[in-house]
Symmetry: C2
Subunit: 115 residues, 2 copies
DNA sequence: TTCGGCCATCGCCGATGCACGATAATGACC
DNA sequence: GGTCATTATCGTGCATCGGCGATGGCCGAA
């Protein structure tokens, strides 16, 4: 398995048949919703999320020069999104390909919808 | 109108025929979503929101002894929610009746749904 | 008028967030 | 080997958050 990792589609697999099993209310759901909301509680992170949803590209560098922020700041925001589970990063040679995690995004929508 | 203000239904009018007009994406939508998400980015505020949605009561005092927090802290959280437009407070005699703002909540759902 | 309950606000503290520049780590390429 | 490009991490400064107790304002009741 040397090559064959084309890195154009492989980093963001859309396959996701898993259903949401956890409840949308209760103490755990409250904490979960608060954590997710906190993660997107910054305009820069909302912009990053939208960029990744549109999938024009998922390379970190492209995100950096799309935002009026320093590279280290963008990396920090990406880390917040990654810790929240909203985003996934795949190392692809010297670059890192970021993409959204559809499951977490759907989970967020379900939690918000349960309000 | 001395009595007749039973404070059970009058403070939270469910009437809300207004549709959402603003777009769900763009720079303003990003800021709006980030501000709303930040407002609910704390477990205590999520709990408060749920309490108000359930409408078991909307009096501030009831919220205070439903949460393991001091009265001033709850008041602070209520202020955050009120500044975000998610909650409205009506002075009703010596008490204050809080209730959710359905328009803002629907707006939040629309913004999340637009992701 | 005075008292007491209800709520908002203030002041304070420690903890966290956000931005940046500088530096390190990784991998491709010559 | 060396070099360049890309990204993560560290350290720092400043601002904001989150909690509390204490205080003050407001209204109704006595």
């Amino acid at each position: 398995m040397a090559e064959a990792s084309a890195a154009s589609e492989a980093c963001c697999p859309p396959a996701d048949p898993a259903p949401d099993l956890r409840p949308v209310e209760g103490a755990e759901a409250d904490d979960e919703l608060a954590a997710l909301a906190k993660a997107i509680g910054h305009p820069a992170r909302v912009q990053i999320l939208r960029l990744l949803v549109r999938r024009t590209s998922c390379v970190c560098g492209d995100i950096v020069d799309e935002l009026p922020l320093a590279q280290s700041t963008v990396s920090q925001h990406l880390k917040v999104l990654k810790d929240a589970g909203l985003v996934r990063g795949s190392v692809d040679g010297p670059r890192v390909c970021y993409c959204i995690e559809p499951r977490t995004l759907r989970r967020l929508k379900a939690l918000i919808g349960g309000l």
